[in-house]
């Protein structure tokens, strides 16, 4: 035991000795490294504890947000400063207000001009009195499910941006808040029926919306807006195909961004939430404008068009003028018997 203790003591003296030598070495090395006179200045000036400290401006130049460690489980609270909030504010209050007003009011003005200049497009050879089935009940259900959902979503969505400008001064803060609260829930939950409607529409109609050579002819012939020219089309003309593909693209954009907003911070951080809102708002405004045009041409703008989605049956002459290839195909399949019997469960063609 005593031999062991002695060993330890020797070891300790040795370690201490080495430590002194090392310290001396480091000390002299430090002095050697210092420029002449720096040693004196160091003694006079106080040390700067901020020499290595992070600065707000530097951090904001490196990254759009300043993030750190927090003691609470709320992950999003670790973002200390995100100046982008002010940019999002500018988007929401300035850009979106102008964009929305110009695009939507602009479309309404355009459609009014179209009505005044071109007028209602008539069935030029008049009604034949013979009916042709254009859409099955299930197709019309899918369309109207999407359409009603869209109108509700559009109005409640516009209320979030424009309600405080248009409605709030008219009804007062209490009534407007109560309305806006309910509108928010309508917007959130009607989104599901919109998704179902859009999926049905796409499944039912995608095969009739594949672009083809006939679409080029349709555009060349003025899309049915020029009375002297006949624009050929299959089940859907090029204009309808554009609405279909736009609805699909814009629909996916608003659905994805919308569900990111509906489940906040699940998949995204604060920047993701802001981008989701920007995408949602911009695409939705364009969507509303396009659908306004769609509603116009399906009702006021064209005689005989609404029946297709109303009763599901269109006049034979209307079909000849607007969907000649589809009509020829359909009549060839069903024979010249005229009014077809109960339509098959699968969509036509």
């Amino acid at each position: 035991m005593s031999r062991d203790a002695g060993k330890v003591q020797v070891m300790m003296t040795l370690v201490a000795c080495v430590r002194h030598v090392v310290a001396l070495f480091v000390f002299s090395a430090m002095f050697a490294a210092l420029p002449a006179g720096a040693g004196q200045a160091n003694a006079q000036q106080p040390v700067d504890p901020d020499a290595s400290a992070v600065k707000e401006q530097t951090l904001l130049q490196q990254a759009p947000r300043i993030e750190g460690r927090i003691d609470i489980p709320d992950k999003k609270a670790s973002v200390l400063i995100q100046p982008a909030g002010r940019q999002w504010d500018y988007f929401h209050e300035v850009i979106l207000h102008w964009l929305g007003a110009i695009v939507i009011l602009g479309m309404i003005v355009l459609l009014a001009l179209a009505y005044l200049i071109i007028g209602r497009i008539r069935i030029s050879s008049g009604r034949s009195g013979r009916k042709v089935r254009r859409f099955t009940g299930f197709e019309r259900f899918s369309h109207w499910l999407t359409a009603v959902s869209f109108v509700l979503l559009g109005l409640t969505g516009l209320n979030i941006t424009f309600g405080k400008v248009v409605l709030l001064p008219a009804v007062g803060p209490e009534a407007f808040s109560a309305f806006a609260q309910n509108a928010k829930y309508v917007h959130n939950f009607v989104s599901f029926s919109f998704v179902v409607g859009l999926v049905l529409i796409v499944a039912l109609w995608i095969k009739d919306n594949i672009p083809g050579r006939v679409d080029i002819d349709w555009v060349k012939q003025g899309g049915g807006f020029i009375k002297s020219k006949h624009a050929p089309a299959g089940r859907f003309n090029a204009g309808e195909k554009l609405v279909f593909w736009f609805a699909l693209g814009a629909g996916i954009a608003v659905i994805v961004s919308g569900y990111l907003l509906l489940f906040p911070f699940y998949l995204t951080n604060i920047a993701g939430m802001q981008i989701a809102q920007v995408v949602h708002a911009v695409v939705a405004v364009l969507f509303v404008a396009v659908i306004l045009a769609h509603i116009y041409i399906g009702t006021l703008g064209m005689e005989g068009a609404f029946e297709a989605m109303g009763t599901g049956e269109v006049d034979l002459n209307w079909a000849k003028e607007h969907h000649d290839l589809w009509l020829a195909d359909k009549l060839a399949k069903e024979g010249p018997a005229g009014r077809p019997g109960p339509s098959p469960a699968a969509p036509a063609q």
Binding site: P49, S52, E56, R69, L80, R86, Y185, F189, P264
Partner: protein
């Protein structure tokens, strides 16, 4: 009239979270609501700094601008208040806030956040409740300002890192500190919140 502001001297903050605790206790806020929090930057590295952050009561407050029901507004003293009676819990104020100040009682799936809650500078609420009443306390927390007192977070700060009060006075205090000790990392968030720095 004074323009109320917060200033956190990051060179003094020791991440003790007393401000957070003081705020929770004084205002009796619900579970999960953190009107004030301390964020540590460069944790464990040289030059680590902690900053206590809550609503900065911004000039041209972005939360107030984006609110779809216009329920957020600045008081005469620049304190940004809101009415929980009008709030619809849409969450937009959180997206606009540069400081992550707005809080919601619930997570918010399907728009179920509930009424927004945030630091009121211990100045009660922006609703119809009578100043200093029980109703006001239950909804918005303490109204110390009406009693001539400043926010408790700053009053209880053990190192006097967190300053609350008239913007000009707290800026002056910070300036004198920086001049005397010879260093300072600046008033965090001031440029974003008030469009100005504290120049020393």
């Amino acid at each position: 009239m004074a323009r109320m502001k917060f200033l956190c001297d990051a060179d003094r903050c020791i991440d003790c979270n007393a401000c957070v605790t003081a705020c929770k206790n004084e205002n009796e806020v619900g579970w999960g609501i953190n009107r004030r929090r301390v964020v540590t930057i460069n944790d464990g590295k040289p030059g680590e700094r902690s900053v206590s952050m809550a609503c900065m009561h911004c000039t041209d407050a972005p939360c107030a601008a984006v609110c779809p029901v216009s329920c957020i507004f600045p008081s005469e003293e620049g304190v940004v208040l809101h009415s929980k009676d009008l709030c619809i819990g849409c969450g937009y104020c959180f997206y606009a806030c540069p400081f992550g100040a707005p809080q919601y009682p619930r997570v918010g799936n399907f728009g179920s956040r509930g009424k927004m809650d945030k630091c009121t500078f211990c100045a009660g609420g922006g609703g119809q409740e009578e100043t200093g009443s029980i109703e006001e306390f239950k909804k918005y927390g303490s109204n110390r300002l009406a009693q001539g007192k400043l926010p408790l977070c700053a009053e209880m700060c053990s190192t006097k890192s967190l300053l609350a009060g008239d913007g000009e006075i707290i800026a002056q205090i910070y300036k004198e500190r920086v001049l005397k000790r010879g260093y300072g990392t600046g008033a965090w968030g001031w440029m974003t919140a008030y469009h100005e720095e504290v120049s020393v």
